[in-house]
């Protein structure tokens, strides 16, 4: 008969042997077969080959196969990249394959590894001990290793991009120019200046992949692949996006991506900031006013184009007026233009641009108004209209002739809202009368009193004006305000 405890002895033997094999295997893997050890042995062989003089022999003698790291408490980084990138500051290694190669350029001369580390510029997981984990693209790491061409975007952490030599930051230079040229500021705020249709971009570079919609993108899902695809086709990445396609080339999209990644209000100790960065921060508090034309190009052209034509916008579902068109400019006063820019047009996509909202300085708005009026012809004085208007007759004329476009009660439709509070406050009687008389060239607004075939008599115009002014009365304004607040958000179905 067999001993019943025999089976347990066998079990104990097998379990113990399996445990020993596993533990010894783990120890060998960690202490002898780790990727970084292989790399360092390779590097030692390279050092041996290159040890032809005293210096070379000294470096070889000092080389130890060990984990190497740069800890920088001021930046909160622990970077072990130098464990594998051993030749990073050795000028003899320029022709070696990665990871042994010398750091390109002269960047390390001014940014020594022991003061700056690696991840402050390159991102990635500094404490990782293998390249895939250091790259950290598919693991839960907020800022994976930047592709080499986009690494320049982190220079802006401590430098003013405007003052860096353009050949050092080729993409950022193009990106900054495109941001102005494409008039991104018409919809996006940067440093408190810009429109409000799109999100502010001040901390765009700090976004992680979890803050961006990646469903329409192929992996790898990184913030830069999102930005890049988004610049090529905003609606394809974010389905409900109001953003117009900026129509950029592949290289330009990459440049804008680099510029977006550089927008990061990152907290680094003052001792790391370059003097120009400190000046830039000061300048941002006391901005120098831009000339009118520059303001127009930076903050208006995305919607208004060059301002001389009216455009139907599918996404806004309305006409965008020709604000430099002769017939508007010859009719509108400076005060009217100024009020519309400063306070915007509530209920439309035109945001307020005063210093409390869009961040434009008063002198900049003056500059824009002058720029808008720069092509205006001299306006002949208008014969004063002294007739007293009858608003009930005005209402019937309005319903017959105007409501089709301007909407019932001046609510607007294809044409501007007459009941709009900013319009009611800023438009003078003369402005309204001139517009009715002469129409608005380039739009659907006809002239109602051309000399050859007057549709309205002076009395009719006075009646309509009287009716229009009732829309500015408190009761009508209250109804308008309710309508504005309950309106579907921009981009929704009207």
């Amino acid at each position: 008969m067999k001993d019943p405890s025999r089976i347990y002895r066998w079990l104990l033997l097998v379990a113990s042997v399996v445990t020993i094999v596993y533990l010894v295997g783990a120890a060998v893997r960690e202490n002898y077969l780790a990727q970084w050890r292989t790399v360092q042995h390779e590097y030692r062989n390279i050092l041996r080959e290159k040890a032809t003089d005293d210096r070379g022999r000294e470096l070889l003698a000092k080389f130890r196969v060990e984990m190497k790291q740069t800890t920088i408490p001021a930046l909160g980084t622990v970077d072990r990249c130098v464990t594998c990138h051993n030749g990073i500051d050795d000028p003899r290694m320029t022709d070696m394959p990665q990871p042994h190669r010398t750091h390109p350029g002269h960047i390390l001369d001014k940014h020594p590894v022991d003061r700056f580390g690696c991840t402050v510029c390159h991102h990635g997981q500094g404490a990782a001990m293998s390249f895939n984990e250091a790259k950290a693209e598919d693991v839960f790491w907020d800022y994976p290793l930047l592709p080499p061409e986009l690494t320049e975007s982190t220079c802006v952490t401590c430098h003013d991009a405007e003052r860096l030599p353009p050949d050092q930051i080729p993409l950022l230079t193009v990106g900054m120019r495109l941001y102005r040229e494409k008039s991104c500021g018409s919809c996006h705020k940067l440093g408190g200046r810009g429109g409000s249709l799109g999100p502010a971009l001040d901390n765009e570079g700090a976004k992680t992949k979890h803050q961006l919609i990646m469903t329409n993108l192929k992996p790898p899902h990184t913030t830069w692949s999102w930005q890049n695809a988004h610049f090529r086709d905003p609606g394809g990445v974010v389905p409900d996006s109001l953003m117009r396609n900026p129509t950029v080339t592949r290289q330009e999209a990459l440049a804008l991506t680099a510029y977006m990644l550089s927008q990061w209000k990152r907290d680094v100790p003052e001792s790391y900031l370059a003097p120009d960065k400190i000046e830039q921060k000061y300048r941002a508090l006391h901005p120098a006013p831009l000339a009118g034309e520059e303001v127009y190009r930076g903050y208006c052209t995305a919607c208004h184009g060059n301002g001389t034509y009216t455009r139907w916008d599918k996404k806004f579902n309305r006409f965008i007026p020709a604000i430099r068109g002769v017939s508007l400019i010859s009719t509108a006063t400076r005060e009217y233009l100024r009020a519309n820019i400063e306070q915007g047009r509530p209920g439309t996509q035109m945001p307020a641009w005063g210093s409390h909202a869009g961040g434009l300085l008063p002198e900049e708005i003056t500059g824009v108004v002058e720029y808008l009026r720069s092509g205006a012809p001299a306006v002949p004085a208008m014969t004063a209209l002294t007739l007293h208007g009858d608003d009930s007759n005005g209402l019937s004329l309005f319903l017959k002739n105007c409501a089709g476009c301007h909407g019932m009660n001046g609510r607007g439709g294809m044409a501007p809202e007459i009941g709009n509070p900013v319009f009611q406050q800023a438009a003078t009687d003369e402005f309204i009368i001139r517009t009715i008389r002469n129409g608005r060239i380039g739009t659907a607004m006809p002239a109602f009193q051309r000399n050859d075939a007057p549709a309205f008599s002076d009395q009719d115009i006075a009646d309509v004006l009287a009716y229009l002014r009732t829309l500015g009365e408190p009761k009508a304004q209250k109804a308008m305000a309710q309508r504005v607040t309950s309106r579907t958000p921009p981009g929704g179905k009207p």
Binding site: R6, W10, L12, I20, L23, E58, M67, Q69, L108, D114
Partner: protein, 154 residues
């Protein structure tokens, strides 16, 4: 049966011995792994290897104080040496005095080679290892002390 014959071990007790032995061997290996854990592979402190710049920057006979790194770098005819400027008493930063170093906190005094000449300091100021990095810059490793009088020749 003579005494030289090996003691008889039955197959059954051999199995017991081997299984028990391997069990304790596994336990031992695991314990070795566990006791290694508290020793970090890399210390989490800041880097204490300071790059001080190219050697040509320092003329013979010069001494340069590095306040941030808490050390003084000397160059004489024999070569470079670096002396820590952290007092060995309670860690204040010593100041250069006429004939050496003086600690402002408790009055320890050291001569220009770092040896204690007065005050409560228990040990002389340590001499730190000087070397050169691959790109030729002088490097002082503040974690490595070297015997007094060690020079680094360029």
């Amino acid at each position: 049966m003579s005494r030289l014959d090996p003691p008889h071990v039955s197959r059954r007790s051999f199995l017991s011995l081997v299984s028990l032995g391997s069990f304790f061997a596994a336990l031992g290996t695991a314990a070795a792994g566990i006791f290694r854990l508290p020793n970090p592979a890399v210390l989490p402190g800041p880097v204490r290897r300071f790059k001080l710049g190219p050697p040509e920057q320092f003329s013979a006979g010069s001494e340069t104080a590095f306040a941030e790194q808490n050390l003084v770098l000397f160059r004489d005819d024999e070569g470079f040496y670096a002396i820590s400027s952290t007092c060995t008493h309670l860690g204040c930063t010593v100041a250069r005095s006429k004939d050496g170093f003086a600690c402002p906190c408790h009055g320890s005094r050291f001569n220009s080679k770092g040896s204690v000449v007065g005050g409560p300091a228990p040990r002389p100021l340590p001499w730190l290892e000087v070397s050169r990095s691959a790109n030729g810059d002088l490097v002082v490793n503040a974690d490595n002390e070297v015997p007094e009088g060690t020079r680094y020749r360029v």
